[in-house]
Amino acid sequence: QSTLVVAEHDNDKLTPITLNAITAAKKLGGEVTCLVAGTNCAKVAEELTKVQGVKKVLVAQHDAYKGLLPEELTPLVLASQQQFKFTHICAGASAFGKNLLPRIAAKLDVAPVSDIIEVKSPDTFVRTVYAGNALSTVKCNESVKVFTVRGTSFEAAPLEGGSAAKEEAPPSAAVGVSQWLEQNLSKSDRPELTSAKVVVSGGRGLKSGENFKLLYDLADKMNAAVGASRAAVDAGFVPNDLQVGQTGKIVAPELYIAVGISGAIQHLAGMKDSKTIVAINKDPEAPIFQVADYGLVADLFKAVPEMTALLSK
């Protein structure tokens, strides 16, 4: 038994969710191999050799891997699979992993398992369905188990203590049916949403995009990331990469502050594993109060600046 973890990175740094995926891979038992593909990813490969529990790092450098397109990475993973006969292939359930892993699975003619939250045994996994309203235990009878891993459900593997061997991945020819043109990433000095210790999220109650400034000011006092409900994204207040929920990001920070968010099940799906939840909402009946450790029934336009001021003292 052996597992391949497809590493996510930006050529400079490993994306943290890869470390969560490695932990899930370790839980299966058997050897853990990581595959790093990129245009200039020697540094990331080096970083991975030191991660605890990783036995081998396969490295593939080629111009075709620019933008980590699934059309190009799939044949590479298949070639690696062919050579090493992995029993499991996984990656983090991020935009990258969700895009790539099903493509690999279909090529292997196996059904993948998305976004697992628990490993019961090497062939049995737990995942959420219906926006977290139900937990489903799935047994995968495929010859190769392909799955993605919810980052918040597994600890990150330690970045030191390992001494993996580096090896060149088997070659695969460029496919050339897709082209990566550009990336337009939201610039922010705040911590990244899925790994932040504190998250301040806003909903429709904020009333406008400009009013999100209130949340940014509060977030900056707490070194927090800023998120949003789908309603706020739908209303055009903020971009979709801030969305926390069933079809957005899953977060589980130490502290989650929901501001002007009613607490639809689709939103709760993305944040209810947070250690402490605070809700600020003027509607005392809002469902968000049913999951909040601390609820404050108040006008957010007064309460949030007041909180920011208090924390500035």
């Binding site: 699934p70 991020s94 935009a95 990258f96 969700k98 790539l100 892993l101 493509r103 690999i104 699975a105 279909a106 196996v110 059904a111 998305s114 976004d115 995942r127 959420t128 369905v129 219906y130 926006a131 309203n133 139900a134 937990l135 489903s136 235990t137 799935v138 995968c140 495929e142 049916v177 897709s178 990566w180 043109l181 550009e182 990336q183 337009n184 990433l185 939201s186 504190v198 707490m222 789908r230 979709n240 990469d241 969305q243 079809t247 130490e254 502290l255 099940i265 689709q266 209810k272 939840i277 109060f289 049913q290 999951v291 909040a292 450790d293 601390y294 609820g295 404050l296 909180m307 208090l310």
Partner: protein, 254 residues
Amino acid sequence: MAARVLVGVKRVIDYAVKVRVKPDNTGVVTDGVKHSMNPFCEIAVEEAVKLKEKQLVKEVVAVSCGPQQVQETIRTALAMGADRGIHVEVSGKDYDALGPLQVSKIMAALAKKEEANLIILGKQAIDDDCNQTGQMTAALLDWPQGTFASEVVLEGDKLKVVREVDGGLETVKLDMPAVVTADLRLNTPRYATLPNIMKAKKKKISVVKPGDLGVDVASRLEVLRVEEPPQRKAGVKVETVEDLVSKLKEGGRI
């Protein structure tokens, strides 16, 4: 010009329904529960219909897999502007076990049969939350994939897709034919008007079986148990912001 677009439409429990787990833990209660088109499939239909309105495609074909009732979902797509429907009949145990891999095989087979050169699907269904079908359909056809799309532009025989990724947006250019999966901001789906609902009743829905398409729907995934998630206990109400901040400080959260 893209000749024909296939759009997948899935019938799911309506997003506003509070889903309940069956007491025997075999699944969730679906009988007597309101069903609708998966919201991301609505976005996919809207995008396809828009391409047709811009005369960039000739025909929009809505496909759904499942029992008789999925024809209602196909009718909704027809009322939104799709030209015709294909109902892939799957029922009973086969339907219970029907997963994204089987649906992808059906979509891929239909794409060949119908000579489609664009497939638009929702990025995810809100029932199983799998987020797989588009990627797998593309793989089976060896077509490129523009998943989680927030903008789609047809440029000759290429397709420019702006994608929602974790840190923001990313733009890719794909050779046609291709598969696109719709994210939230791709468009706002229209409501079907009464005249269009009436018109949709006259549009044709053909019925096929997976076997007619050479697809075996056997699944090698087995759901052992479905259960309620642990419930979070409600906490306390605080009266003032000061109260809140001091509680958070006591708890070491800030």
